[in-house]
C-alpha cells in the first residue's frame, strides 16, 4: 500500500484519521489514496457505507492474527459459509438421518442400510457422513465459523463506524457536501433563512450542532446500531446452543412407566422417582361431526391422554440400588403440552401403549369336564411365584414363562420359544400340573389363543378365564436451563431488528459558502421521508429544495447506503 506516512491521513481540516479511512471522520473530505476501497469515483456520488470509516481489516494485514481476522471480517466469506451450510443441510434431508432409520428395516446398521436401500447414492451419503449430519463435527464447525464470522464482521465495522459518527463535525468539506445524494445550492440565502431552516428541523426533533456557521442536523443515529444489536442476539442464541450441549444446562431422557410402577427418573442422577398412578386416554366419539369422515378412514383419534403421576424425592443418600427412603414430593397430571414441573425438571407426555397384560387367571379343569377344580391368578409383572397350591391337593407349577412369546425358528437348535421383550405383551407358559398325591406332573403349554397338550394324553387342562391389563406411559424427562438464554437472545435480536427497521439515521448539512448556501442530506434508508422532513423545514425560508442527485447522476448506484450486509 502506498503512502503509509502519518501526514497522508491528516486531513486538511486538521483531523488525523486512522489508516484506511475513506472519508475524513471530521469533515468528510475524501482521502485521496483510499477512494478505491469503497469504489468512489470523482464523477460520482460518495459511497456513504460505514460513513467512509476505516474497516481495519482492509488495512492491516501483516501478522497471522491479522490475516485470520481479515479473512473472517469479510462479509463475502460469511455469506459463503452460510450458503455452504444451507446446501449441506439440504443434502442431509435427501435420505433419512441415522436415528430415523425405520425400525423394520432389514438391517439398521447404517453401513448396510443406506447402500441396500438407496444404492450408490446412499453409499456416498453414508460415507460422506451425511447420515449423522447435524451432529457431525464438520457441520458443527461450519456453524461455528458462521458464528466467528458474525462476531468479527460486526466488531470490524461497528467500532470504526462508532468512532466516525462520534468525531463528525458540523463543518464538512465542500466535496463531501456536493457529492451527497440530496443536494441544493441557493445563492443569496441570508443568515435568517438558515436559522429558520435549522429551527424548523429542530421542531422535527433533529439535533442541531453548529460550527463556524456550519450546521448539521441529525436524527435517529441509534438506528445505525440495529444490525449490531441483532448480531449480538444471534451470538447469544449460538452460545445458548453450545450451553445446551452440557449436561449441567440441558438434560433429556425418556422413560416408560407402567401403571402402578415406581421407578427412578432417568437423567436425574437417581434423585427422583416416579410412580404412574393411572394413565387415561380420551378419544373423539365416533359421531363427532368434525372428525367423522377422517376417523372412518384412519380409525379413532385421541382427544387427550394423561398420566396421573407421583414424584418422589430421595430423602437420604444411599448406595444406588439399595432401596432408598423416598418422600412424596409432587403429584399431578401430565398432559400433552402440559408438563409436570418440579425443581427445573419438566415431564412431558410423549406416547403410550395401552393394555399390556398385568395379571392372568387360569382355571384347572378336566379335559372332558369344563367345571373348574380351582382357579388361580398369576401376576405377570413380577411372576415370581413358581408354584400355586390349589384345592383338594392339586398343585400347578409354572415351569416356564415368556412374557412376550414368539417362536424363534432361526435358532441353531431348531425352533425355540423365546420372549421378545421383558414386558407381558403376549404371555405364554409351560405348566406342570400335579394331581393330588402324585409327583409326576402333566405338562401343558398355555398362551393367548393357544393351549397345547404335548403328549396328547393329559387328563387336566388349564384355560384362561380372566385377565387385567394396564397402560404404559411414555414420558420425556427434561431439564433445560438454556431456554432463558435463548429467550434473551431472541429478544435482543428483535430489539435490533426494530431499531434498524423502524428508525432511520438522517442527517442534513447546511454549508454557507461565499454567499451561497449549500444543503446536503443523507439517510441510510427511506429517502422519501427525509425529503419530506426537509420540505417541511424549508417552508418560508427561500432555500432551494434539495435535488436527488442519484436521478441525475450519470453513473448510478455508487451511493450504496446499506449498512450491515
Amino acid at each position: 500500500m502506498r503512502g503509509m506516512g502519518m501526514n497522508k491521513l491528516k486531513c486538511e481540516c486538521g483531523h488525523v484519521n486512522p489508516e484506511g479511512t475513506v472519508l475524513c471522520e471530521a469533515c468528510g473530505k475524501p482521502i485521496e489514496e483510499n477512494q478505491h476501497l469503497d469504489g468512489n469515483r470523482e464523477d460520482r456520488l460518495l459511497n456513504m457505507r460505514y460513513d467512509g470509516s476505516a474497516r481495519r481489516s482492509l488495512t492491516y494485514n501483516r501478522s497471522v492474527v491479522d490475516k485470520i481476522w481479515s479473512f473472517f471480517s469479510s462479509v463475502k466469506v460469511g455469506i459463503w459459509l452460510i450458503v455452504i451450510t444451507l446446501i449441506a443441510s439440504a443434502v442431509g434431508t435427501i435420505f433419512p438421518q441415522e436415528i430415523y432409520i425405520p425400525a423394520d428395516a432389514p438391517s439398521r446398521d447404517p453401513a448396510v442400510f443406506y447402500e441396500s436401500r438407496y444404492g450408490i447414492l446412499g453409499k456416498i451419503f453414508y460415507q460422506l457422513g451425511f447420515h449423522n449430519l447435524y451432529s457431525s463435527w464438520w457441520y458443527m464447525l461450519l456453524i461455528s465459523l458462521i458464528g466467528i464470522s458474525l462476531v468479527i464482521c460486526s466488531l470490524d465495522r461497528v467500532v470504526p463506524l462508532y468512532k466516525a459518527l462520534k468525531r463528525q463535525k458540523p463543518k464538512r468539506h465542500e466535496v463531501f457536501i456536493r457529492k451527497q445524494r440530496f443536494f441544493s445550492e441557493t445563492a443569496g440565502a441570508n443568515e435568517n433563512s438558515k436559522q429558520q431552516f435549522a429551527e424548523q428541523l429542530k421542531k422535527q426533533r433533529y439535533r442541531i450542532r453548529e460550527e463556524d456557521g456550519h450546521i448539521v442536523a441529525e436524527k435517529g443515529r441509534f438506528s445505525r446500531w440495529g444490525p449490531y444489536v441483532n448480531h449480538i442476539g444471534l451470538i447469544i442464541i449460538l452460545l445458548a446452543s453450545i450451553l445446551r450441549l452440557t449436561p449441567v444446562m440441558y438434560k433429556d431422557a425418556r422413560v416408560s412407566v407402567r401403571e402402578g410402577e415406581r421407578i427412578v427418573l432417568p437423567g436425574t442422577d437417581g434423585e427422583y422417582y416416579i410412580k404412574n398412578e393411572k394413565f387415561t386416554v380420551e378419544q373423539y366419539s365416533d359421531d363427532d361431526v368434525r372428525f367423522k369422515d377422517s376417523m372412518k378412514k384412519r380409525g379413532p383419534v385421541d382427544k387427550s391422554y394423561q398420566t396421573d403421576a407421583v414424584i418422589y424425592k430421595v430423602k437420604n443418600d444411599t448406595v444406588p440400588g439399595a432401596e432408598p427412603e423416598l418422600e412424596e414430593y409432587r403429584t399431578g397430571a401430565i398432559r400433552m403440552n402440559q408438563p409436570l414441573k418440579f425443581d427445573g425438571y419438566a415431564l412431558y407426555q410423549k406416547n403410550y401403549q395401552l393394555n399390556e397384560f398385568k395379571d392372568m387367571s387360569f382355571k384347572l379343569h378336566k379335559q372332558a369336564d369344563e367345571t373348574a377344580i380351582d382357579t388361580f391368578t398369576i401376576d405377570l409383572t413380577s411372576a415370581d411365584q413358581a408354584e400355586y397350591k390349589l384345592k383338594d391337593g392339586y398343585r400347578v407349577k409354572v415351569s416356564n414363562y415368556w412374557p412376550d412369546y414368539y417362536l424363534d425358528d432361526k435358532d441353531k437348535d431348531g425352533a425355540r420359544p423365546r420372549s421378545r421383550t421383558p414386558y407381558p405383551r403376549n404371555p405364554a407358559f409351560v405348566f406342570y400340573v400335579y394331581a393330588p398325591g402324585t409327583d409326576k406332573p402333566e405338562v401343558s403349554f398355555a398362551g393367548i389363543g393357544q393351549n397345547i397338550d404335548p403328549t396328547g394324553k393329559n387328563v387336566y387342562k388349564l384355560g384362561i378365564v380372566d385377565f387385567n391389563t394396564r397402560n404404559v406411559s411414555g414420558l420425556t424427562v427434561r431439564r433445560d436451563y438454556t431456554l432463558p438464554v435463548y429467550m434473551a437472545g431472541a429478544v435482543i435480536f428483535m430489539i435490533g431488528v426494530i431499531q434498524g427497521m423502524y428508525w432511520q439515521h438522517r442527517r442534513v448539512w447546511i454549508h454557507p459558502q461565499n454567499g451561497k448556501l449549500l444543503v446536503a442530506a443523507h439517510t441510510n434508508k427511506n429517502w422519501y421521508s427525509l425529503q419530506r422532513d426537509i420540505e417541511k423545514a424549508m417552508v418560508g425560508t427561500g432555500i432551494h429544495m434539495v435535488k436527488d442527485q442519484l436521478e441525475t447522476d450519470e453513473g448510478h448506484g455508487s451511493e450504496g447506503d446499506k449498512d450491515g450486509h
Partner: protein
Amino acid sequence: MNLEDRKEQKRGKKKKRLLFRLSILAVLLGAVVFAIVTSLQKDKTTYKPGDKAPDFKLEQVNSRNSLDSIQLSKLKGKGVMINFWATFCKPCEAEMPYMQNLYKKYRDKGIEIVAINLDANQLVVNNFIEEYALDFPVVRDKSSNIRDLYRIGPIPSSLFIDKDGVIVEQKLGQLKLRDLEAYFKKIEP
C-alpha cells in the same frame, strides 16, 4: 507531538490491536473447540475406561451362589466384570456360557462377575440360571437404577473394573471368548 512520539504511539496501538484480536480469536476458538468436543462425547454416554466405577448395592438372586447381596465397593481388591443382560436378549444369552466357563477358572484368581439382570420377573431369571448352570452372582436392577447410573443403552454391555475400582475396559455388544479372557487377564489383581 513530534515524529518519535507518534511512532511510539503507533506501536502501542498496534500492540493493543494485536492483543485485542488475539484474545477475541482465542475466546471464539475456545467456544468452538468446547462445542465440538462436548457434542462428540455426547454419543459415548457410558463411563469410559479410566473412570471410577460408581458404587451400587443390589440383592443377589442366584441360589447357586452364596452371597446375599453385592456391593461393588466391597469387592475392592478383586477384578470385577459387570455385565448388563436380560433373558430375552439373544447376544446376552450367547455370551453366558463363556462367562460361566471362565468364571470357574478365574474366580480363584480373584475375579468376580456381577451379572446385572434387567428382566421384569424372577421366574425367567431363575430358569435361565438353571439352564446355564451359572455360578456367579446375579443381581436384579428392578427399577433400572443402575442401568441409569451407568448410562447403559443397548445390552449386552460389559465393564471390566480393576482391583482399585477403576474401569479398565468397556465392551458394548456381544463378547467373544478370546476377548473375554484377555479382559480378565487385564483386571486380574
